[in-house]
């Protein structure tokens, strides 16, 4: 009988730890050996000695942290297998952001999959999530309530373009997280025919350049910081949500403030954020996506890392699947914006 993953994969204060492989996944503190699922700062923290991740995630980490990305960086492309101390490790696309991966671990015939963050909607900037059959599936639950159902992104992008047509003199500024969301929005806008230059906050420009280097075309981009007020009139501008309401936002004349996030589904949340045009575009799985994924992995047991654990565990119980909360503290708080 293969050893149950609970005997070799343990939640610790530093994060999820794989005993036979002697590595942590997305560790919350500095560790000797880390596997990183993706580049968001709550998952990819600086200062580990050895880091294993997809080449794209490593490129993102280097761009964001420089030297502090890790003493030694080892790329593992999607689909390739690596033996780490009696554990076969494979990285499989998670569909969350460019480079994002699920960590598939096999140990003496038992298989556990740590999804990191993931989504099931299409995203032109990264390969789609691939479900892997396993004995334990470790999932996030950012949007683990049945009120969260993300609409098709095409319709949300169309809303933005309609508003742009309705208020041609106003600058449309879209609050979007700098890694993943911004590039996905740009790519979607291009697909839906918007080919004018898009203006960027400085925080976005760096990561857009990384995406372009990794082969994701984003069209004409300009720094919003260098642009004159008049030039931005009627333009589309992307900025981190926190910058829009701050002094940075004053360069924009009479802006339409939009925000792209799964939280925009809840009206009072959007209103409290001072948003005029909420766009429900998320890089996390919605309720249906979480449940469908759980079914597709056929895992008899689910571990929930962060988010609305209680409701997802209840839903698993209704599907007669065993589930428990790992209660790992520290994920899902990259300014609370990456949703």
């Amino acid at each position: 009988m293969p050893p149950h993953p609970a005997s070799w994969l343990k939640p610790t204060p530093s994060g999820l730890y794989c005993l036979p492989g002697d590595f942590y996944i997305d560790p919350l503190r500095q560790v000797p050996r880390a596997i990183i699922t993706h580049g968001h700062s709550d998952h990819a923290r600086p200062g580990h000695a050895q880091v294993l991740a997809t080449p794209e995630t490593l490129a993102i980490m280097r761009a964001r942290m420089g030297e502090r990305a890790g003493a030694s960086l080892q790329p593992l492309p999607y689909g390739e297998t690596l033996e780490v101390g009696g554990v076969r490790v494979r990285l499989v696309p998670a569909g969350h952001v460019l480079g994002s991966a699920q960590v598939v671990m096999e140990h003496q015939g038992a298989r556990a999959v740590v999804s990191g963050d993931y989504k099931r909607q299409p995203d032109p900037t990264c390969p789609p999530f691939e479900p892997v059959r396993c004995d334990v599936f470790v999932t996030e639950a950012t949007f683990g309530l049945p009120v969260f159902r993300h609409p098709e992104p095409e319709g949300e992008i169309a809303k933005l373009l309609q508003s742009h047509a309705l208020f041609p003199g106003r600058t449309h500024v879209v609050g979007a997280y700098a890694l993943g969301k911004a590039q996905r929005l740009i790519a979607c806008l291009r697909r839906q025919g918007y080919d004018a230059p898009i203006y960027l906050h400085g925080a976005h420009a760096n990561l857009c350049a990384v995406y372009e280097r990794l082969g994701v075309g984003l069209g004409a981009l300009r720094p919003a910081t260098a642009a004159q007020k008049a030039e931005l009139k009627g333009a589309l501008v992307l900025a981190p949500p926190s910058a829009v309401g701050e002094r940075w936002g004053r360069r924009l004349e009479d802006p339409v403030v939009a925000q792209a996030s799964g939280w925009m589904r809840i009206r009072q949340r959007a209103k409290a954020a001072g948003v005029e045009l909420p766009l429900i575009i998320s890089d996390h799985a919605d309720w249906d996506g979480l449940l469908a994924t759980i079914r597709e992995t056929q895992a008899p047991e689910i571990w929930v890392t962060h988010g609305a654990e209680e409701a997802l565990i209840r839903a698993c119980a209704l599907m007669q699947i065993r589930a428990r909360a790992l209660s790992l503290i520290g994920y899902g708080d990259e300014d609370g914006e990456e949703a």
Binding site: P146, G245, A272, E276, A308
Partner: protein, 520 residues
Amino acid sequence: MKPFAELLERLLFAPGRNTKISLLRAYFSARPDPERGYALAAIAGALDFPGAKAAALKQLAMANVDAELFDLSYDFVGDLAETIALIWPAQGDDPPALPEVIERLRAAPRPAIPALIEGWLNRSDPSTRLALVKLLTGGLRVGASLRLAKLALAEMGGVEVHEIEEVWHGLAPPYEDLFAWLEGRAARPAAGAAPVFRPVMLAHPIEPEDMGRIDWREFRAEQKYDGIRVQIVAGPQGRRLYSRAAEDISAAFPEILEAAAFDAVLDGELLVMREGRIAPFGDLQQRLNRKSASPALRAGFPAGIMLYDLLFEAGEDLRPLPFDARRARLEAWFARARPARMQLSPLIPFASAEELAALREGAREAESEGLMLKRGDAPYLAGRPKGLWWKWKRAPLSLDAVLMYAQRGHGKRSSFYSDYTFGVWSEAGELVPVAKAYSGYSDEELNFIDRWIRNHTTNRFGPVREVEKTLVFELGFDGAQTSTRHKSGVALRFPRVLRLRLDKPASEADRLESVRRLIR
């Protein structure tokens, strides 16, 4: 339903009045009859569906969703209508049209209504479902008043908004005759003999530069009462009490309607009056924003009216007459009609501008807000014509208060901390909030305060910042009243910033007991 749902969604998030007006205008211009008329009725709150209440809708949702998951979701969302709309499991893309919803609900027998609604919810996307649930349960709460809708209609038709006000209360959903007029396809609907609202005449505040230009001998003076402006319309077709904004408030003041046993349209001030004496504004507030008034409330806070103008008498339109002539007609009419609960607002004789100024200074003792000045030869005109009516408010009261909390503003000020909560010292030596103010500072001062707040934040509660309690402001206000909302138990009326007092340490700000002494 979908275009209506989209409109509601945009209205809810639109930051400013002008944006809301252009959204409404675009909707009314683009959508066909009768849909746009029903949308207007929904915004006006003119629709009621007794068979479709929130509890019944919750039951519908609970039949399809696990109870524990529903409760967890409701906890998170915080709004029942929204929870129902979002959690509804089916997803359709063929929502019913707004007129279909309204017409079928009106025709359906009550027991058939839940199934009808369930079918519609199944056919709809989430934002249409929310619009549907809000429409059915009443209270769209999208921040768009009927007044804004009328302003949008006026823009659309290229007419003055008071022209719409004047016919509004003679119209009924779906308002096809109104739209036909606005689009130039038909004449303006007749107000007829129905008890409709007539647009009111408003006054300008006297600014210091106006003082020299006013020929005082041409003006008549009255008290400026501290109540709300109303219009009483009574005649063979019915009786109505309207607010200044044309809102029908009849149901909340049955005693006034009962007393209006005459055929006239009168302009006046609604007040709480006990044995002919005017009670403080706080008493009147007990009666405002209510759908009805219980006998206890009517006995405790009896409503009355100070009459100051006569617009129609027995169908005769007196508005073209000069003020003096209307006043004479008003006095003669009042002597004959002697309506209960109503008094004539007395004219205040004065011989000189100086005497008038002294009267204004004494206004606080006379429990009024100041003086009204009306030109003797002015007809009654809709809107705010310049130079005919003036309001001359008494000088504001002021106090020094300490900035406690700040919040960002909206629209142009959305990146500035421009909304402030101020406190004064309680007996226990604590700062307690007494006022919120959003105006009165210059752009330069706003820049300074905004920077100060960002550098002196001690705590954040969502969008609100708590700051170091060191910055003192001189606030102007018109009066103080008891408040259950503020921890201090008092609230200031019309507070605004007069100036920044950088010279003043917080310890020298005012005390709560001196504010309490101002409560009338």
